[in-house]
């Protein structure tokens, strides 16, 4: 996002948003991308139709099976200050499952995870830590070794 395109107050708030202060940055190495199993983890407050919507700044997460169809993915993010028309036209703008499946078929990535996950991005990231660790365990059980993190 080019912040200069936003109202000055909003740009300032976004640029100066308090972020967790991580003392170190972990780094995991692995095989080439063509051998990796990829999952999407979104902070867009995504939820499968019929599942619990995010009602506010919930710190937990929702699972999104790879069998989910575009008509069954909803966005319950609390913020009204981001575009939703892109997602309305094409879910890949936020949740690029079709693209990952195509990249797997083309051999650019190894495979696509059986399940993807979403958090609510407006939540204090520190509160997401436990949920993130739980998600990591589920991803490892699915042999995922690369995660595409998408925000809105």
């Amino acid at each position: 996002m080019r912040l200069e395109r936003l109202p000055a107050a909003m740009a300032k708030r976004l640029a100066e948003l308090e972020c967790p202060d991580f003392k170190t940055t972990p780094w995991v190495e692995g095989p080439s991308l063509a051998e990796r199993r990829v999952a999407i983890v979104s902070s867009a407050g995504l939820t499968v139709r019929g599942d619990r919507v995010f009602r506010g700044r919930d710190a937990d997460y929702r699972a999104i099976p790879s069998t989910t169809g575009p008509n069954d993915l909803l966005c319950s993010h609390i913020s009204i200050n981001f575009d939703r028309t892109g997602f309305q036209e094409d879910w890949n703008v936020v949740f690029p499952l079709d693209r990952l499946n195509e990249l797997a078929a083309e051999g650019a990535i190894g495979s696509v995870a059986a399940t993807h996950y979403s958090f609510m991005g407006a939540t204090d990231p520190v509160q997401m830590a436990d949920g993130a660790k739980e998600v990591a365990g589920k991803l490892k059980a699915d042999n995922v070794d690369a995660v595409l993190l998408t925000s809105v």
């Binding site: 890949n92 703008v93 595409l148 993190l149």
Partner: protein
Amino acid sequence: MSALGHYLEEEGIASVAIALIRAQAENTRPPRALCVPFELGRPIGPPSDAAFQKRVILAALGLVEAVKQASLIVDFPDDDPREALDLAWSPPSGPAPAEAFEAEMRMLAPLYAQSCTERARSTVGLSGLPPAEFGAYIAAWLRGENPASPIDGMSPLLALRFAIDDLKAYALEAAIAGGARPSSKQLGDWLWNQSACGAAIRALRERLMAGDERQQAVAAFFVPAVRLPG
């Protein structure tokens, strides 16, 4: 989002964040981030552009093959091509002005009749035409036709002026049916800002003011000055 990268990576899973706000990525220092210049809400970029979306995804996921470093933050170079305006797009709209106007005329008919009964009078009558006829005449103008005058001995333009005078009276009398006592401002706000009748009159004024002197002279009587923009 970049914080999730820390958490997942600490658990042994490589991650790449697609960051919409570079400053936040810089502050959180995730293992890997691709900063994209796209609008908030569009992390993968343009909708319905699979090729572009794949370039974004591969630019991001390709970072898992980079050599280890403190925090790898890379910028995606291209803007979202869908930010360009589509000049062929037209917003959804209701019925054409003439249809909306005629529908409102029909909707107002019972209210106008009720109002006439309640007040035992009407101020409609300058054109000498009943509402259905002056309504049809105005609708013909709205459709861009140049209808013949429905009034003997009167030019089409003058007939339009009186038809519009009658229309204003018809609508405003219908609006006071039922015994309420709205202020003139309330009534004016409704007619000029909310009603299809008012929109029809404004549209005809605009059309005729772009015409010759005779048309402009007549159109000057359509909309009160206090209801003109600026």
